[in-house]
Symmetry: C2
Subunit: 356 residues, 2 copies
Amino acid sequence: MTSYKIHPAVAEAVRGFSCPASLGFGAVTAPVMYSVEYRNGAWGQGELLPYGDIAVPPGCKGLHFAEQIFEGMKAYRFEGKAPTLFRPRDNWARFVRSAERMCMVTVPEHLFMDGIEAVTGACAPHIPTASGQALYLRPFAFGLDPSYTIKASDNLRFMVIGSPVEAYATAPMRVMIERHDVRAARGGVGVAKTGGNYAASLRSSTLAIAGGYHVSLWLDPETRGNIEELSGMNVFAVIDGVLHTPELNDSILPGITRDSLIRLARHRGYKLVERVMNMEALLGDIRDGRCSEVFACGTAAIVNPIALFGEADGRTVPLPSATPVASELRQALLDIQEGRGSDPFGWIVEVPPLAL
Amino acid sequence: MTSYKIHPAVAEAVRGFSCPASLGFGAVTAPVMYSVEYRNGAWGQGELLPYGDIAVPPGCKGLHFAEQIFEGMKAYRFEGKAPTLFRPRDNWARFVRSAERMCMVTVPEHLFMDGIEAVTGACAPHIPTASGQALYLRPFAFGLDPSYTIKASDNLRFMVIGSPVEAYATAPMRVMIERHDVRAARGGVGVAKTGGNYAASLRSSTLAIAGGYHVSLWLDPETRGNIEELSGMNVFAVIDGVLHTPELNDSILPGITRDSLIRLARHRGYKLVERVMNMEALLGDIRDGRCSEVFACGTAAIVNPIALFGEADGRTVPLPSATPVASELRQALLDIQEGRGSDPFGWIVEVPPLAL
């Protein structure tokens, strides 16, 4: 007995689904989705549905005023075991903080977990099991009110969709330092996981890819001198054997993988410093050989080394190809996420089976 | 014979529609909408449809990465005359610039005008005719691709919806100076009419309304000292009899009403200066009596005087209640828009009738 409805066509949708051999990241759509609406001051009953288009008012604020927030998380499965989630309540807590920053109605923990567990439970047989693979989960909410006044919606839709995936990036990344565009203002919404920050990244991503890079690195909006994050990933550097990562401010997204790596690295005996990190100083440390590794992390990327930093004009500063610290931390994180290692921080949550 | 399809239910939808006596701004929805999609590298055929919910992929970038742009414009009608538009090709040109900033597919002029003219033509009998009233038109486009990679969509939907409206604001406005939040970064997307800028405004709007203000005034993202714009409106001040307005930069929206007032004011013999306008200096000029009026303008607001500037803590600086310059320019603009005066700039475009 679940607290949400299960549409009669869900069982058939799950049975009829099969994962292709090549997954990519987001190319394959999970066969079910969860949806619940907030209307007239109250949440309705959630429902697990076959995946498909949704009906929205064409003037809704989700589509006009970017009144939208989301999360990215993963469900893991090891052969013969129940699916598991990694720190799902931290995603929920960040989802609430994002909603608060955007003045949106907050989704209660039980509905958030219902959505995550319903999609994960229904898709359990289709969660890919090789290391680095997972069911990517995308909880999101958007304003439903069709209105032109600059005011948050009274009505909201919360949904969870999913995608069986590989790791987002699989090779060391070529990173373009973005010198012109800014992802998020100080006093803006950079700290929230909301669409506008990603929209502001599209031009830079386009230029980066056209220039042979994989992703842009964002500098702070005030001095344009300090490292903030990559599009969708936080950054760590190893300098003189010590780990460094930009300290949080109101324009950096507080990554859950970032937080996990900080705790994991300290647990493994690394010294780790959160501080303002100047870009030119880091490039100097790389050239001098004091900085031996820089790597990115995120739910999608897991832990991924950076091969080089470059400018829009093509000048680059390469990093060493050996990345022992990134490899060690990536493996330690995956060992916890994929259920091979112990779970000293209590990060893993098992998903109850869903009978369809 | 139109270049777009007309759904067979459109005629009935228009016949069955009637405008309530009280319109507000956006509370009444026009009975039809225009839609056209860009897929596989080409635009499909547009269609005029009865207004209703639209089907979108739940993972589309319009809802996740705020890949969305819009315009705001109005169609006017005087008794016994055909409907008219005000500078519609300037809205189209800005829509194209917004698309380019967001790396989105651009909507060709003929499709943009088709959409505007189809909705205006079909709604012609329902365009309210009192001065200050109009059919508000909302052209918008959003990314359709359901994908989690930070890259612009290959597929796009362009739509036009409408709403018979009064003026957005009808009383002199109480304006809260926003000292903390920032609407758009330098190097951000403030110059584009895209949802993320409005999402970033929601918290400030909420606080402003809770504090008894109507709207927030945004300061520049770098020094936090200079006036940018109100949420959705540009600003003019009359100082020693001369009009002043903030000069455009990459975080101020280049308003079409702003541009129209600049040309209209100069045409009427006013001296007008576009310059960086410091907030404290303006407050000093108001206190000293040198600044006699400050007013806001926009498609929705037309021209609307500001009654006072205030802080979040309640301190306020009032402005004189007599607003002769704002009243003169508002009337001159409305005389052109509503077809009473001559049209020296060629701003008015008649809409061909639509037989249903």
